[in-house]
Symmetry: C2
């Protein structure tokens, strides 16, 4: 072992994940040498602020003020990009690395969602690895699971709980019966949610990840722009309570399907049946389910974020590179990736939960019932509870199976009605 | 694509998995070509009985009466061994394949448990792949998950529900309140259990798989002989009922730990807390959990057996070979695999469920309580139910945390007692 040359790594970006990678390579050094077949050593690091105390000893590494010089360093074999952001320095460094003919390992889902194809082209041209296990579902090897583990299958559907912050908020609301704002506030204080939580709670982060999973599952070019995205801001404690009474839990689910009308990709809160594995994914855990035509349902669960799990995925990629076990970043040559049109979601058939906040006055139920009838939606169950503090009433409806377009028509029929206190909430029910 | 030479495969053994592989390669041909970078084609097949109708068209393949000639065929690039059995023809063919310098893909856990190391030596010497994803947990990519996905971690514990037949029997007993013999009988009629079910229900199959997982997780040489094995024959419906009342389900768990006193490997039915993911693994599903020092808990679940899932794993291996993405079969060079001594299980600390079938007469409880006291075991809870049809009484005890040796001492203290109608059942409780 000692005779084999180490694989020398430059790490750009020293946030939680970057320091995690440093800590991991130090802690598990001997084991990693055995598994990788040679030592993996950090030689250079870079970040915005050199003076910040990151709690790890970096004296053995060369500090580089200009990370853009990393790819050209003779003693750098691999660059690890942990800067974040879809464009800017992360993208520039990634391009420069691949253009220099050096392997790139990244955890950057936003960059991959927007520029994954272009970066994969550079990697393919140079015949070098572009690895990104940490970009989706943290420590769970789900990129590998789809790219390799399930590779023999035609995948009909891949879906997951892809954002730990949302899952923490939803499951905390569930356990404690509290409302969204209060739990978000607490999550921010505890460091489970960012000061600006938009990317997480509005579903954008999950959508980045979903677009990557979709490409791997279906052999299509990443198409982030066609992901329909809806976050969790509008969920109230009462929705979770009503869902539970009906036998469901609410989870933010990113779902992609290969349909006859094209590629369906959507991030949205869903009602998940109690006996579905997702109903037991609690706190900041992530989970992914893939349905293959031979393997059936494959389910992966683990920590979706955090220093340790994400570093674990980054270093797994480094080990693959050290072992020389890598290939096309998106499971096949770019020339073979399909370009799929966006599916028509209106024709999708399913059951739906509709929640209305309505005025407590005669005729409201008749109005809503008529709007549903006129749209052709039939009702499976309906619950109306007592009056809220503000005088409004919560009305929850579960529909029979119907086309999504008829739900849209129901809402259109009710548009402008002064019986509604707020915009109705529509949650699809996971089959 | 058309210009790339196909990877040509010989399949030995045409049982469920063999015909599944044929079906899969036919059904997903185009997709697999894209993912593997070149077509994967079967050229030759072999099995004991040529005349048997297997429901697949094999006219395009060369039938070989003597499978031992496969490795030498010029048009065979890879041999897939699906014969089964730890020795005999499976082992002979596997050796011959690797000795001929050709890649071997196998689903044979018994052979790997006994001869995995010797086969890996041949593969290492020749620098060719030995792949066996299908040997453990069917379609779930758990070999890859440990070998690659979790490779950056020191794994402290790997454990799983590794036998679908046992899980089907236990969960059916649970749902229907029936006894072991009746459910096994039905499972055999339905084809879920073999005519001779010994390997499955006595835990040997799970132990084969566990010894493979252990090697990958801990970087040790496979050591099947040191696996402690206990099956599910002694579980009665009442145990499942009492466990449920206590908040547990019973699952056959294969568990391996890297402990200070050595390698702990055991297959045994355990009490699994309701909030543990294993409690929701039903029917013939399999599941594996690995605990890494950075990634935390990684959980994999899916179909552990059957034509489709197992074929999916076999073909995933073929795709890895076609892509040239492979390395050391047991994650590292054989010279780096440790040899671990067997751990002392007596010093293991845990809570235990003890079930006694006792005579309905005065003094029995005092006798058992004294045996536990004398062994130093303290009781957390105790349930005694009414009298069985044969006049015996069921007495269930859950202990506080104690060393396993004290449980052994309790049983020794009771040995020969005529208060006991049958051997006491000991089930450890999963933490």
């Amino acid at each position: 072992m000692q005779n084999l040359r180490a694989m020398r790594v430059a790490v750009a970006g020293l946030g939680t994940v970057g320091t995690g990678v440093i800590r991991l390579l130090e802690a598990n050094q001997a084991l990693i040498s055995r598994r990788a077949g040679r030592p993996i050593e950090i030689v250079a690091v870079s970040a915005k602020d050199r003076s910040k105390d990151r709690g790890v000893d970096m004296s053995a590494f060369r500090w580089m003020d200009d990370m853009m010089k990393m790819p050209a360093c003779e003693d750098v074999d691999v660059v690890v990009e942990l800067i974040g952001g879809s464009d800017g320095p992360a993208l520039a460094l990634s391009r420069a690395t691949l253009n220099a003919g050096k392997p790139l390992v990244t955890a950057n889902k936003a960059m991959l969602a927007h520029h994954g194809l272009a970066l994969a082209e550079l990697a393919e041209k140079a015949g070098i690895p572009l690895k990104y296990e940490a970009a989706v579902a943290g420590g769970i090897p789900v990129i590998k699971g789809l790219r390799e583990g399930a590779a023999a299958n035609e995948i009909s559907r891949v879906y997951g709980i892809l954002n730990g912050t949302c899952n923490y908020i939803l499951t905390t609301m569930e356990k404690e019966g509290r409302n969204f704002d209060a739990v978000l506030d607490e999550a921010q204080k505890l460091g489970y949610a960012e000061a600006d939580p938009t990317f997480d709670i509005d579903g954008i982060d999950a959508a980045h990840k979903l677009s990557i999973l979709s490409s791997l599952a279906f052999g299509t070019q990443i198409d982030f722009d066609s992901v329909d995205i809806e976050g969790i801001r509008d969920i109230v404690a009462a929705d979770i309570k009503e869902a539970a009474a009906l036998g469901y839990r609410i989870r933010l689910v990113g779902m992609a399907e290969n349909t006859e009308t094209g590629l369906f990709q959507r991030v949205h809160p869903m009602l998940v049946p109690m006996d579905h594995p997702f109903a037991h994914v609690d706190g900041s855990l992530n989970a992914v389910l893939a349905e293959g035509n031979f393997v059936g349902r494959l389910f992966f669960q683990g920590a979706g974020a955090g220093e340790g799990p994400t570093a674990s995925a980054v270093v797994a990629d480094l080990i693959d590179v050290a072992r020389d076990e890598y290939g096309d970043p998106f499971a096949m040559q770019i020339a073979h990736l399909d370009i799929q049109s966006k599916a028509d979601s209106g024709s999708r058939i399913g059951r739906t939960y509709l929640r209305f906040m309505v005025q407590d006055k005669p005729g409201v139920l008749a109005e809503i019932a008529a709007a549903m009838r006129d749209a052709g939606v039939s009702i499976e169950s309906l619950i109306q509870r007592g009056v809220n503090a503000d005088g409004s009433v919560i009305l929850c409806v579960v529909t029979h199976h119907c086309a999504e377009s008829t739900i849209g028509q129901t809402l259109a029929n009710l548009a402008g009605s002064d019986s509604l206190v707020s915009k109705p909430l529509v949650l699809h029910i996971l089959d």
